[in-house]
C-alpha cells in the first residue's frame, strides 16, 4: 500500500500543478489588457463626464456647440456611405478573382495584399500628390487629352469633391482588409456547391448571388462589422488630403487633445466614436443575422 501511495502522490501533485497552468499563461495578457485597455476605456468616460468640480456634461456641450462637430459628423458619415458599399463589392470581386485560381495568382495575391500594410497617413500623402493641382491625375488626364489645363480637384469649398478624393484614397487603402476576411470565408465553401449549380445551368452571377453569397454571410458580417468600426476612426488620410478643408470625428478628437489641450472634449469625442462604432456593429449583427437552424456550421 505504501508503495502505491508513494507512486501516486507526485503524480496527482503534478496534475494539480498543470491545472493552474493555463491561468498562469493567460495572466500576463489579462493584467496587461486590464491596465492598458479596460482601465483607460473606463477613464475616458470619466474624463468626458467629469470636470474639476465633479460630474458635468460641459465637455459634451462644448463639443456639440463647436461648429466643427456637425461638420465632422457629416463628413464622417458621408465618407462611410461612399466608401463602405463600394469597397464591399470591390473586395468581393477581388476575393472571387483570387479564388478563381488564375495563372500568376501568386503575383496577384501579393499585389492585392499590399495596401494592408499601408497606413492611412501614407495613403493620404500619396493620394494628395495624385489629386493636387500640379499632380499625377492632371498629368495623366492632360497627357491623354481629356483636359486642356490642370483641373482643381481639391477645392476646399467643394465638399463633394473632397469626399470623393478622400474616398478614393480610403477605398484604395482599406479594401484589402475586407478582401482578406471574405477570401478566407470563400475558401471554406466547398467547390462542389458552385459546380453543382453550374451543372444545373446557373451562370456566374447567379452562382454568386444564390450559392456563394448566402454561404459567405458570416464572413460578410465580420468584414462589414470590422470595416465600419475602423471607418469611424478615419483620421490622417483626411488631414493629408484636405488640409483644413474638411474634418472628421477622430481629427477633432486629435485637435482638442493636441492643439487645444482639452482632454475632456477629446474624451467626449472618443466616447461618441465608441458609441457610433458599437451602434454600427449592432446594426450589422441584426441586419445580417443568420437564423440558427439555417447555419451550416
Amino acid at each position: 500500500m505504501t508503495t502505491i501511495a508513494h507512486e501516486t502522490a507526485p503524480l496527482t501533485r503534478r496534475k494539480r500543478r498543470w491545472e493552474g497552468l493555463p491561468y498562469w499563461l493567460i495572466l500576463p495578457t489579462v493584467v496587461y489588457l486590464g491596465l492598458f485597455f479596460v482601465w483607460p476605456m473606463i477613464q475616458s468616460f470619466g474624463l468626458a463626464l467629469r470636470d474639476e468640480s465633479g460630474w458635468s456634461i460641459t465637455a459634451f456641450k462644448t463639443m456639440v456647440n463647436d461648429p466643427a462637430f456637425g461638420e465632422a459628423m457629416g463628413f464622417t458619415f458621408l465618407l462611410i456611405a461612399v466608401v463602405v458599399p463600394l469597397q464591399f463589392f470591390l473586395a468581393l470581386g477581388m476575393a472571387l478573382l483570387l479564388n478563381a485560381k488564375l495563372r500568376f495568382g501568386g503575383i496577384f495575391l501579393y499585389i492585392f495584399l499590399l495596401p494592408l500594410a499601408i497606413s492611412d497617413l501614407a495613403a493620404g500623402i500619396v493620394w494628395s500628390a495624385i489629386f493636387t493641382e500640379r499632380g499625377y491625375l492632371n498629368t495623366i488626364l492632360e497627357g491623354v487629352g481629356v483636359l486642356d489645363q490642370p483641373h482643381i480637384w481639391l477645392d476646399p469649398t467643394n465638399k463633394t469633391q473632397l469626399v470623393i478624393a478622400v474616398a478614393a484614397a480610403e477605398i484604395w487603402r482599406s479594401t484589402t482588409f475586407m478582401m482578406v476576411i471574405l477570401f478566407a470565408g470563400l475558401q471554406g465553401i466547398p467547390r462542389d456547391y458552385g459546380e453543382a449549380a453550374e451543372v444545373f445551368g446557373a451562370g456566374f452571377f447567379r452562382r454568386v448571388r444564390h450559392v456563394i453569397l448566402p454561404m459567405l454571410k458570416p464572413s460578410i458580417q465580420v468584414a462589414l462589422l470590422l470595416r465600419l468600426i475602423f471607418a469611424f476612426e478615419v483620421f490622417a488620410v483626411v488631414i493629408a488630403i484636405t488640409g483644413r478643408g474638411a474634418t472628421v470625428l477622430a481629427a477633432e478628437a486629435y485637435r482638442w487633445q493636441a492643439t487645444n489641450m482639452n482632454e475632456h472634449v477629446a474624451a467626449a469625442y472618443s466616447v461618441v466614436i465608441l458609441g457610433l462604432s458599437l451602434a454600427a456593429a449592432a446594426v450589422v449583427l441584426v441586419v445580417l443575422r443568420t437564423p440558427r437552424e439555417r447555419r451550416l456550421r
Binding site: 500594410a117 500623402i125 500619396v126 468600426i229 486629435y254
Partner: protein
C-alpha cells in the same frame, strides 16, 4: 458554347485582375519615382511618369531635415519594444488557448475578439493623461505600451491558431521521451510554430510603424515618424512629404511578401 463562355469569362477575369493590380500599384509607383528623383523634378508639372532624373537628392534632403533620422530611429525602437513585449506577454496566452481546455477559455477568447470593436482612440486620450501623471509622457516607452495594448489581442488569437495547427501528439511524444512540459514546448512546439509566430511579429511591427493617432497624442518632441509627418503636413514642401510617405510605405512591400501566406490561412479565420 459553354466552353467558349468559360474562356471569355477567364479572359475577363485576367483583365479585371490586371486592372486592379495596376490601380493598386500606380500610387506606389508614383511615390517611389518621386522619392528617387531630384528635388526640382518633384515640383515639375507635368509630372514625370517614367523615372528620368534618378537621384537620391530628395531622400537625402528628407533624411537631413530636422528630426527625421531621430524619428525614424524612434519608430524602430517603438516597434521593436512592442514586438518583444507582445510576444513575451501574448505567446503563452495563445499557447494556453490552443492546448488547454479550461474554464474561462471561451470568455477570454471572446473578450479578445471583442476588443476590436473598441476604437483605439478611446484608449489613447486617457493614456495621455495617465502618462503625464507617471512621468512617461512624451517617451517612446509610452507609445510602445499603447501599441502593445492595440496589438496584443490579435497576437494572442493568431498565435493560438498557429499552435492549434501543430499536433499536440508531438509534444506528448517528447514528454514520454523524458522532456518536461516546458522543454517539450521549447524543443518541439516552438520551433514548429516559429514561422507563424514570426509572421505575427511582423504584423505587430507594421501596426506599430503605421500607427498615427496614439503616437501623435502621446508625444510632443519625441515623435515617431508618422507623428512627425502628421505634425509637419501643413508646412512641409512636397518632396519632403513624398519622401516621408515613401519611408512610411516601404516596409509594406517587404512585409507583405513574407507574411502573405499566413494572412490568408491562419489570420482570415483568426479574425472571426
Amino acid at each position: 458554347m459553354a466552353l467558349r463562355r468559360l474562356r471569355i469569362g477567364r479572359a475577363l477575369a485576367y483583365v479585371a485582375a490586371v486592372v486592379i493590380s495596376l490601380w493598386i500599384l500606380a500610387p506606389l509607383y508614383f511615390i517611389t519615382v518621386a522619392a528617387f528623383s531630384t528635388f526640382d523634378a518633384v515640383y515639375e508639372y507635368p509630372k514625370q511618369l517614367a523615372p528620368q532624373n534618378v537621384s537620391t537628392d530628395t531622400i537625402r534632403v528628407f533624411l537631413d531635415s530636422e528630426g527625421i533620422t531621430e524619428s525614424l530611429r524612434r519608430s524602430m525602437y517603438v516597434a521593436a519594444i512592442a514586438m518583444v513585449a507582445c510576444l513575451l506577454i501574448g505567446t503563452p496566452a495563445g499557447y494556453a488557448l490552443a492546448r488547454f481546455k479550461f474554464r474561462g477559455a471561451n470568455p477570454f477568447q471572446l473578450a479578445l475578439v471583442s476588443t476590436r470593436a473598441f476604437p483605439l482612440i478611446i484608449i489613447a486620450v486617457p493614456l495621455a493623461v495617465t502618462y503625464l501623471r507617471f512621468g512617461i509622457d512624451d517617451t517612446i516607452y509610452g507609445v510602445a505600451l499603447a501599441h502593445v495594448a492595440f496589438t496584443l489581442p490579435l497576437t494572442v488569437l493568431i498565435t493560438a491558431s498557429v499552435f492549434a495547427g501543430i499536433s499536440y501528439e508531438l509534444e506528448e511524444a517528447a514528454m514520454t521521451l523524458g522532456c518536461g512540459r516546458f522543454s517539450a514546448f521549447r524543443r518541439v512546439a516552438l520551433p514548429l510554430a516559429l514561422p507563424g509566430v514570426a509572421a505575427s511579429t511582423i504584423f505587430i511591427f507594421v501596426t506599430s510603424w503605421n500607427e498615427v493617432f496614439a503616437a501623435a497624442i502621446l508625444t510632443l518632441t519625441n515623435r515617431t515618424l508618422p507623428a512627425q509627418m502628421l505634425a509637419a503636413l501643413d508646412f512641409s514642401p512636397l518632396p519632403y512629404r513624398l519622401a516621408g510617405g515613401f519611408f512610411l510605405m516601404a516596409p509594406a512591400l517587404v512585409v507583405i511578401f513574407f507574411i502573405r501566406k499566413y494572412l490568408l490561412t491562419t489570420w482570415g479565420s483568426a479574425a472571426r
